[in-house]
Symmetry: C2
Subunit: 155 residues, 2 copies
DNA sequence: GTAATTTTGTTTAGCATCTAAACAAATATA
DNA sequence: TATATTTGTTTAGATGCTAAACAAAATTAC
């Protein structure tokens, strides 16, 4: 069993690594912009969170406000993200432009693609089998989130 | 079911993101060196693959030879990795120093820690439940590896 | 056996991304 | 109103990567 478990952990670590390799190459989702993963990820997060601001985006993405500010500046200049609520120079509200939504949709379908075959496998499983998968993922997320919090309070 | 599946994919993407957040902070595994993830990952790969060389390491890690060469240079200067087979200036064989092995062990136990609770959950599952988990991971790895290969041959 | 080719590793310049810190501007609190 | 807090921006410097030019060694072709 321990060997089986180690193999499984190795598989999981391999997935984590492969995902970063896949996302290293910049992509064009049909807008004419070659976008790096950080840019795409930022667009994804803005698309997912209505009217988010820089500070909250930094929290959600686990980086500093400065990093977000720089990325947003670039994406605004590329007309992928819009700053609304500009009568007020503080508390900027971010939203996607039409072009930004195209990237958002492209990335979503890319993610769906990656998991298409795994999803089919999952669907064919019994309710009991699916239950363990779900609980494992929830447990791993909970553990990792705890670690991030500990890191934040320590650093 | 589709909502359940989307939730699961979101959980998985969250894991991928949290892992990168966790690994962003440099760590000291008791050698006095504050090491960044790239350095730790490189040490891990050298530890896992006996007498590996720069070219193979680049393939395994999905980066260019130049990148590996730079990282190795730094790790050799920190006395974490050793270059053997130096009578021959080509085909360098890499291995961990005593200090490097300490980092290797530290990282291994860190990875084990992350999955401790999930592993306990997995162990309590039935053989049928575990079977789906295994097959899902294998499927995801296969799909991602295929994508990396396609990317390589295309780019 | 020598010449041409391939393989392997290194260096360089330049780019993307991040942090920390200093800062400016707006808001909230005393 | 004065002070403190919150929010966003800018800057300098660091890591890590690529592409390309290069050097050195090994392999292949003739």
């Amino acid at each position: 069993m321990n060997k089986e478990l180690q193999t499984l952990i190795d598989l999981f670590l391999k997935i984590l690594h492969l995902y970063s390799v896949i996302n290293k190459k910049p992509k064009d989702y049909g807008t004419g912009d070659l976008l790096y993963f950080t840019e795409i990820h930022t667009i994804t997060m803005v698309g997912k969170n209505k009217k988010i601001n820089v500070t909250r985006l930094a929290e959600v993405m686990g980086v500093t406000k400065g990093a977000i500010s720089q990325t947003i500046k670039k994406l605004v200049s590329k007309n992928l993200i819009l700053k609304t609520n500009l009568r007020n120079r503080k508390e900027v509200n971010l939203k996607l432009s039409e072009k930004g939504r195209l990237v958002y949709k492209g990335q979503k379908s890319f993610q769906k693609d990656i998991f298409t075959f795994a999803a089919a496998l999952y669907k064919r499983g019994t309710p009991e089998q699916r239950d363990l998968v779900r609980r494992l993922f929830i447990e791993i997320v909970a553990n990792m989130q705890m670690r991030v919090k500990v890191q934040e309070s320590a650093g």
